[in-house]
């Protein structure tokens, strides 16, 4: 039988990220965009789930 008491995870140390690494990690990649698209579709109000899929319309 599994131990009902969960093992505590030590806090550990924070990621030691340099300014250069933060610059690199903050760039928005295609996979980041895909994740944000999915998150919007799952969580936006029903009538606006496809808001961000809008295309530019031609003016008359």
């Amino acid at each position: 039988m599994a131990d009902p008491i969960k093992k505590r995870v030590p806090l550990g140390t924070p990621l030691q990220l340099t300014d250069e690494q933060l610059d690199q990690l903050s760039e928005v990649t295609p996979i980041d965009i895909a994740k944000a698209q999915a998150f919007w579709r799952v969580n936006a109000p029903a009538e606006f789930k496809t808001l961000l899929d809008a295309q530019t319309i031609e003016e008359e």
Binding site: V9, L17, Q21, S26, V42, N43, L52, A54, Q55
Partner: protein
């Protein structure tokens, strides 16, 4: 660099993103010269307040994820590094969506827009690094105050929305001046002072989220430019 992998337990967004390339058809379009969403069936502009409300709902969902992550950290279920990775992912998701919502959707985002978005995310990553260091040093208590502070990162998406919109109004729409409009909430002294300045050259007022109310700020900007018959105002709402 030690960077914990989350590949063994990818988020729902990762699964969806990797598993599909669905292109949805929107009932809305984007009018580039007006800088507004349009209901395709009626031709009516969608108020920006409605777009902001939708973003608020998405930001709240992101805040809930951040809250869960931080609660897991408080409960000693995940390490500080794992929390940091999860928070960075949520920050990027919420700010990426905020930028696209301000700019008219994914299709309208240019490389330069993504660059501007990345710089706004970078600023949040800087704040998060300090947050993590303060948790490690004990300066930041791991209790309700940490949960409150973590939630501010989700709220910051509103500031990204306003900054990307401001960028559009300046570069694409030729707007010359901006004015801070107080939101429907209590106002901090900084926001009141900024609003009292009235119209100022675009890009010179303090960004949304920079005052004492930080990312809880619900202020917006409106913009104007000179036209043949006087000022043309771009509604912020």
């Amino acid at each position: 660099m030690t960077f914990p992998s989350r590949e063994t337990n990818p988020s729902i967004e990762t699964k969806l993103a990797l598993g599909s390339s669905i292109i949805l058809t929107s009932k809305l379009g984007w009018n580039e010269s007006a800088g507004r969403y349009v209901e395709l069936s009626t031709g009516r502009f969608v108020p920006f307040s409605t777009v902001r409300d939708s973003l608020d709902v998405v930001a709240e969902a992101s805040g809930a994820r951040m809250n869960t992550l931080t609660q897991s950290l408080v409960n000693e279920e995940i390490s500080l590094a794992e929390w940091q990775v999860g928070m960075m992912e949520q920050i990027k998701i919420s700010h990426t969506a905020a930028a696209a919502s301000a700019r008219g959707g994914w299709a309208q985002m240019s490389q330069a827009d993504w660059g501007a978005t990345g710089r706004l995310i970078r600023a949040q990553y800087d704040f998060l690094r300090n947050f993590a260091n303060e948790i490690a040093s004990g300066k930041q208590a791991l209790d309700g105050r940490a949960l409150f502070r973590a939630n501010l990162y989700a709220q910051a998406a509103r500031g990204t929305f306003e900054e990307i919109r401001r960028r559009y109004e300046r570069l694409m729409n030729g707007m010359e001046e901006e004015r801070r409009v107080l939101g429907e909430a209590d106002h901090c002294n900084g926001c009141l002072a900024q609003a009292e300045l009235g119209f100022q050259p675009i890009g010179t007022l303090e960004p949304i989220g920079s005052q004492e109310c930080v990312t809880n700020c619900h202020c917006t900007f409106i913009y104007r430019k000179r036209g043949p018959n006087g000022w043309i105002v771009s509604e912020g709402s």
